[in-house]
Amino acid sequence: MRTIKTVTVVGANGTMGCNVSAIFASFGNAKVYMVSRNIEDAKAAVEKAAKSVRATAITANLIPADYSLLSKCVAESDLIFESVAENFETKAEVTRKIAENIREKTVICSGTSGLSITSLAQQLPEELRGCYLGVHMFNPPYYMTLCEVIPTEYSDKALLNDIKDYLAEVLLRTVVEVADVPAFLGNRIGFQFINQAMQLAQDKAERGGIDYVDAIFGPFSGRAMYPLVTSDFVGLDVHKAIVDNVYFNTEDKARDSFVFPEFARRLVSEGRLGRKSAKGGLYRREKTEDGKSRILVYDIMTDGYREQTEYDFAFAGKMNAFIKNGEYSSAIAELLTDVSAEARLCCEALLKYIVYSLRCSLDFGGSIHAADDVMATGYNWCPPLAMLEAFETVKGFKQIAKEKLAAEYLERYDFEEIISKVEPSKYDYRRYFRASR
């Protein structure tokens, strides 16, 4: 296996750059140059990085640096990890700069969450393109082990395999090789689901909108975090960038599901980006008079924030009670038979999630299992094959899908081919279906 002794992370003061530096310095025991905007930011990032893996001892491996030192750091490194702002021109410029001082055979990785790796590789002189890869980790990488690896047509095959081995065996990542398509695999699937939840919030604004939709997709639907809370957590700007990228740069059969809804566009333009903005986003945290904090929700109808509604959907209550007792099959049976609008929305969304994920898995992940790996270890959602198995505790998935989804929908994704390729999941659905506490 390739030895990676020295790494330069460019953009190490950013959240991902910082956390990824810690992964190289801890599991990889590599010397990591943390190149940041200025040396103060870099020093602060060193401390944050050590905390992110709960190991002060790795501080010895983390070297703060600024851009004036970039060429020296690059010249010394076995691997460069570019983690600057998610903007093509910014990344292209940094990539060209890296190329100026690089040693032969040094690996160059971009941490982009969905920009074209091929176009970024083309910023390099031809002789360096073989060493260029997308290496996309998920936040926080200490807890989310997913690492999408994206080669291009230029990539050196031996180098690709070496790096995949290194990421899996040394850095303990769950490595999934995916095609160079917008948003890659995890975000393509995850943000389709989240964006559809966002579209549904707009559609159901009169019923309550955002918190109404999150209540439909609670922990009982196979995820640790509500979908719109997730969008708020990663930031509406990031969410928008991901879905716009898919919408404008692909011919996805579900292209419409990537349209960022109008109300959310407005929030982004007003700088209401989510948890990272003081102004809030889909939710807003507020201090109350007694010093405690409460979380208000954005109301699409009034364009203001209000107390969250305690929705009491019968199907959700029953599913929670079953899951609490470990009766997963009864919970799924409830979801399949409840005729309320909310239960049907939830059920249909989960079935479509399985179909779309497995389609993407075959198309962009090269295996029926790729979507399971990305959704379990990058999102902590019940992965599609495992969720399919949960449905199968009630009756055959093929039959369920044909009963609940339109024939046109199934045809569009060549459902018969998907079903013919289904294999047992490596993941256990039971841990992902959670009861609200």
């Binding site: 190991a55 899951i323 007792n325 506490r437």
Partner: protein, 414 residues
């Protein structure tokens, strides 16, 4: 006495936090029963039909569910998780962190005596229901509570910190060398846990620099000279082990299963001070633990030379350190040598805790004894996957309760 075979079992993923998942003890029991049956190749019908002739019984190991989940009568509780247990004899066994070993001991005895042909042992503990300080107070009840734990924050780290002090003062070992050996024990357990797909810490980072730098922000001292890296972590979990008689194996055409070769069970004075005072005249810092090991060797007719793999109770690095000589891997006082020269590492001649042990695999107290036993089964039946020790024929486990008060030892082999 009839032979007691192990036909299989299962372990829940010790990484999981069942409280965060919003699940109760019923969900835990249902899951371990389903998985344990599958692992042992039995089903509800097996239990129901054997029970018609009173040939099956259940043995539940748990330390203190009354506190963590406000539930007692745990033997009977299995009937709520699966009605196939209706009418099946079942009771709960308790010996602090050695509770499921007490359950195993009872189960083994019943099969040996030809009372039953199938014995289902379930060890479990749900511990993430309370904060760490409250949980630590509950665990204090494994010591003599009034004298050693009442109104004391984190009593057990203190007691095992004192064990470390005793080891240092009893043997003429350089302090740094001793502390580095403890750090290495932690690192070996974390490394081993990386190969175990059910371990609590398989994604966690630990190395020698981190483990040996104590009293830092990320590795604070928790009891005397011991730091966080020297401690196992509590977790939620359940384990099932299914034992069977020769008759059951023949009836079901099951062949070539590991069996129980010997056991040892001793109880030392409960108060740590008395334990240490009594040990003054012994070469061993924990003479009754050593005696339980000797009893198991004697009953099995085996010696340390015959044992290919060990699972020990590393609730703290100091307890694994003391176990090294108790097993007979080294002479008393020479434990650090087996750490330094790699004897106890995964590829060493006497590997200890290939599972990751309590430090790496996690410590749901009432499940830990059964977990070690199941791991010995996996090792000697060649089904341990990535953490398989090559050609393991015999394995020994040591499960302790309290401050090394109860010592339970089992030898499993083929």
């Amino acid at each position: 006495m009839s032979k007691v075979y192990i036909i299989g079992g299962a372990q829940t993923d010790f990484e999981r936090n069942w409280t965060k998942e919003g699940k109760n003890v019923m969900a835990l029991l249902k899951e371990i029963i389903a998985d344990g049956f599958k692992g042992a190749g039995i089903n509800e019908e097996t239990v129901t039909s054997l029970n018609e002739e009173n040939r099956v019984a259940c043995f539940v190991g748990n330390f203190i569910a009354e506190k963590y989940i406000e539930q007692g009568h745990l033997g009977a509780l299995l009937t709520e998780a699966n009605s196939c247990f209706n009418g099946v004899p079942s009771a709960r066994y308790e010996a602090a962190c050695a509770s499921s070993s007490a359950a195993l001991d009872a189960a083994i005895t019943k099969i040996q005596n030809d009372d039953y042909d199938l014995a289902i042992v379930v060890g479990f503990e749900l511990m993430k229901t309370v904060d760490s300080k409250t949980g630590s107070d509950f665990l204090g009840m494994a010591a003599y509570y009034e004298a050693e734990a009442k109104e004391i924050a984190f009593p057990f780290p203190r007691l095992f910190g004192r064990l470390a002090d005793e080891l240092l003062s009893k043997y003429d070992v350089d302090e740094k060398r001793f502390m580095d050996a403890l750090a290495s024990i932690a690192v070996i357990n974390y490394e081993n846990a990386k190969r175990n797909p059910l371990s609590q810490t398989r994604k966690w980072f630990m190395n020698f620099q981190q483990a040996s730098a104590r009293a830092t922000d990320t590795n604070p001292l928790v009891g005397g000279r011991l730091a966080a890296s020297d401690c196992s972590q509590i977790t939620d979990g359940a384990v099932m082990v299914v034992l069977a008689s020769e008759k059951f194996l023949k009836e079901n055409n099951i062949e070539d299963k590991p069996f129980v070769k010997g056991y040892g069970h001793r109880v030392a004075p409960m108060l740590f001070d008395k334990k240490i005072a009594e040990a003054k005249n012994s070469d061993y810092v924990l003479p009754w633990t050593r005696q339980a090991v000797l009893d198991a060797y004697h009953r099995s007719g085996l010696t340390v030379d015959d044992i290919d793999v060990f699972e020990t109770h590393d609730c703290f690095t100091s307890s694994e350190y003391a176990a090294i000589s108790a097993f007979g891997i080294t002479a008393a006082g020479d434990e650090y040598k087996a750490v330094e020269d790699g004897t106890i590492s995964f590829t060493g001649s006497k590997p200890v805790n290939p599972s990751g042990g309590l430090i790496g695999c996690g410590h749901p107290v009432g499940a830990s004894g059964a977990r070690m036993f199941l791991d010995l089964y996996k090792q000697v039946s060649g089904t341990a996957g990535d953490y398989q020790i090559k050609d393991a024929r015999n394995g020994m486990m040591l499960n302790i309760g309290g401050s090394a008060t109860t010592s339970y030892v089992f030898i499993v082999g083929r």
